[in-house]
């Protein structure tokens, strides 16, 4: 997740992992991609995570 290896206790969906990291469906201004595919927040609970999945969680920062 965001370039860091993350260990899961057991089978998990994306929404579980995100919640563990303080991000819920109500968090604004964030977006998530799994293996370079953007996952809309309405689908966060449908995505089952597998070993080696690459998860990116982004938000807006200062930019030009």
């Amino acid at each position: 997740m965001n370039g860091k290896e993350t260990n899961l206790a057991g089978p998990a969906t994306l929404v579980t992992l995100l919640r563990e990291n303080g991000i819920t469906e109500n968090s604004t201004g964030v977006a998530v991609a799994v293996n370079s595919n953007v996952i809309p927040r309405s689908k966060w609970d449908e995505v089952r995570l597998a070993d080696g999945d690459k998860i990116e969680v982004i938000n807006a920062v200062q930019g030009g």
Binding site: I23, A31, V32, P40, G64
Partner: protein
């Protein structure tokens, strides 16, 4: 042009009273940023998207400062390939609820010049995916024309390298680009001081996107005000229609009935 008050910048059917698009980076602090943005008169500000700091709970505060006051234009800064840029734009769309994107695909770190083949590829994919694409590109008439023909909502040639403050280095190319592209043209990058913004406007460029020139000025809020006035002055001068340049003098006072003249 008689009505100087109503001369909006129109991009993809949206009207902006200000011809400035202003970045949100490199200000001394967030308060100066907000004051400078307000002083510039801009209605559209750029942001980047980066990985969330998962250990920092304050992540929503930056966006919250801008929301409700400004339209947000996410960029794909830091992307070196079409693939990275497309994913970044898609993430930005999901996070920020906008299908507008300032598309940057960079060629190298030293010049930050665009990688044109990757840029064209990314633009094509994003347009097909329903984005309103505003590409940062070279001041090359052919590239600009290709981007415009492809369907980009505006084309944004650089005036000089990003953050260089070198101003408008190639006004002659920009004149050609102006004649050849029917979409809005925005000078993106290179503006260093107010006269650069005025020069861009006088060339018939529709808007100016700038960041460092304001953010890193000794007094950012004053510079933001100067940029607003310069863009207004330059646009008015463009609409007013300047006199042609001549090599020799043309007297402005009457040349007849001078004292001491005989028939």
């Amino acid at each position: 042009m008689n009505d100087t008050m109503h001369d909006p910048l129109v991009i993809a059917g949206r009207e902006f009273k200000s011809r400035l698009i202003v970045g949100t980076s490199r200000y001394p602090d967030p308060h100066v940023m907000l004051d400078a943005l307000a002083a510039s008169g801009t209605e559209l500000v750029t942001v980047s998207v980066r990985r969330v700091n998962l250990t920092d709970g304050s992540r929503e505060s930056f966006l919250a400062m801008l929301r409700g006051k400004y339209s947000i234009l996410p960029n794909t800064a830091g992307c070196y390939t079409a693939k990275e840029a497309v994913l970044t734009a898609q993430l930005a769309r999901e996070a920020l609820d906008t299908n507008w994107v300032k598309l940057e695909v960079i060629g190298d770190q030293e010049t930050l010049f665009p990688d044109v083949p990757e840029l064209l590829k990314a633009a094509e994919q994003l347009l097909a995916d329903g984005f309103v694409v505003l590409p940062y590109c070279n001041d090359d008439p052919i590239t600009c024309r290709k981007l415009a023909d492809m369907g980009c909502a505006a084309v944004m040639p650089l005036g000089a390298p990003i953050g260089s403050g070198m101003g408008i280095r190639n006004p002659y190319n920009l004149r050609i680009i102006r004649e050849q592209c029917r979409v809005p043209l925005i000078i993106d990058a290179g503006v260093g001081t107010a006269s650069d913004a005025a020069v861009a406007m006088e060339l018939g460029i529709d808007g100016v996107l700038l960041n460092t020139a304001i953010a890193q000025a000794k007094h950012p809020v004053q510079m933001a005000t100067a940029m607003r006035l310069a863009a207004e002055a330059g646009r008015l001068a463009y609409n007013a229609g300047r006199i042609p340049k001549r090599l020799y003098a043309t007297a402005s006072s009457p040349e007849e009935d001078m004292i001491g003249s005989d028939d």
